[in-house]
């Protein structure tokens, strides 16, 4: 069985979301806790700006959970920077036990999944999941300098400047809860185009979603919303198409964080958003707000990641994908 049922149903007791300028101009603008007028967050380098976003996101989440940093028994964090330094520098001052994760854009689900399992198993009472990505940092590391005059292909996605943090706890009360998780497998279907990450990640999402429905016997109608991380326009359509072929009809209630965070046409965002901060800020901003309002009660969150580096791409290797699943339900234990 790949699906793990969490009997103690760890609760999400606090969340925080931080985004940059473009994201704050998008359709989810009102749902984010904090945004910057630019991309700098008061820092003199973009790398520091990304760390600052993680710091603000975790502080916001702690404030909402009405607790101090000393209550966190473990923090699971990650980002897209080499050696996960954004998380290291952003979270060092909290003094909490730290695990650095890398799952590319799927990292937030990976962090939620590990936190929830360890809280469910009774090893920890309170964990934090924090991830971020920053457009300028990612451009430097993966693509071209920011001011370089080039054109992007229509299938390319834009790395979101954003961070999300959630506090996972064994506390009782009326909170959104993580009731099931399913760790993703590495799936490689030979896509080499780094400008079409949606196509590279979609097979992993298909693998996870198909196995989830097959194992549990649920159907898509049982959920208010099925949400992939950041497949963008290409991957979203591909996943829906292939899953329909397996008899899983997602046409009614399936969306993608990469499509939600920007108004793709108005903001000229090509295939949509991506990055560790994409689904993290959408979940900790928009989705959690809708849980609070009672609009959502049962959500399947499947974050997808493209596991590549600039070197592997230049050496001609294809791009493997991964998709971790987290089910979030409203209500008491």
């Amino acid at each position: 069985m790949r699906v793990k049922k969490l009997n103690r149903k760890p609760s999400l007791i606090g969340w925080g979301s931080v985004v940059g300028k473009r994201e704050s101009e998008g359709p989810l603008s009102d749902d984010f806790d904090i945004h910057d007028k630019g991309e700098c967050f008061g820092m003199n380098t973009w790398e520091k700006a990304e760390s600052e976003m993680q710091r603000i996101a975790l502080n916001t989440a702690l404030a909402k959970a009405k607790m101090g940093a000393e209550s966190i028994e473990a923090v699971f964090a990650g980002d897209l920077q080499n050696q996960c330094v954004s998380s290291v520098f952003g979270l060092a001052d909290f003094g909490a036990p730290f695990f650095g994760l890398y799952g590319a854009c799927s990292t937030f689900a990976e962090a939620l999944l590990l936190s929830a399992m360890l809280v469910d198993g009774g090893n920890f009472d309170t964990c934090a999941a924090v991830t971020s990505s920053h457009f300028c940092v990612a451009e430097r590391q993966y693509r071209f300098p920011l001011e370089y005059g080039g054109q992007r292909t229509p299938t390319a996605q834009r790395t979101v400047t954003g961070a999300g943090a959630a506090i996972i706890s064994s506390a009782n009360g009326n909170f959104p809860r993580i009731t099931e998780v399913m760790p993703g497998r590495i799936v490689n279907k030979g896509i080499k185009d780094a400008n079409n990450m949606g196509a590279a990640m979609a097979p992993a999402a298909i693998d996870t979603i198909r196995d989830y429905f097959n194992e549990t016997g649920y159907s898509p109608e049982d959920f208010d919303l099925i949400l992939t991380g950041d497949l963008g326009a290409e991957g979203h359509a591909t996943a829906m198409d292939y899953l329909l072929g397996y008899g899983i009809d997602l046409r009614k209630n399936y969306s993608d964080c990469g499509l939600m965070i920007y108004d793709i046409n108005r903001q000229d965002m090509h295939a949509g958003g991506s990055g560790c901060g994409c689904s993290a800020s959408v979940i900790c901003g928009h989705i959690m707000k809708r849980f609070e309002k009672g609009e959502l009660k049962n959500v399947l969150y499947v974050a997808t990641g493209a596991l590549m580096s600039p070197s592997t791409s230049k050496q001609g290797l294809s791009i493997p994908g991964i998709a971790h699943l987290v089910r979030i339900e409203a209500g008491r234990r």
Partner: protein, 148 residues
Amino acid sequence: MDINEKEYKKYCAGRAKKSPVFKDTFAAFICGGAICAFAEGLKALYGMTSLPEDTVKMLVPVTLVFLAALSTGLGVFDDFAKFAGAGTLVPITGFANAVVSPAMDDKSEGLIMGVGAKMFTIAGPVIVYGVLSSALYGVIYWLCEVLL
């Protein structure tokens, strides 16, 4: 899992949205042409002075490089290039942008290992293969002169 790799690649290639080739080519033609026409204008302007022709021919690309570097620094070059595409890339303006933009990005890593080392990450191949092909051309030219 049972998705056939070959079929999947074909499916993705089939559904991937293509770049608007006609629009891009047209924009590149107009913008690249405008830059070259502007350069011709500069040449005529400099020609009105008492400067010798060789100096005028040197001053024209120097002006273009300066303007491209300045607009890169002001953050407007990439906005124009997004529309113009190869229209700004092919003239010497593209080369100036390819040197200035990494220099700006990597300033945070210091003047030596940042600006100095990374300034030519994009323009480097152009220089290497440009020099190499000009040497090859020289050899061919020399052979032609000797043999013919």
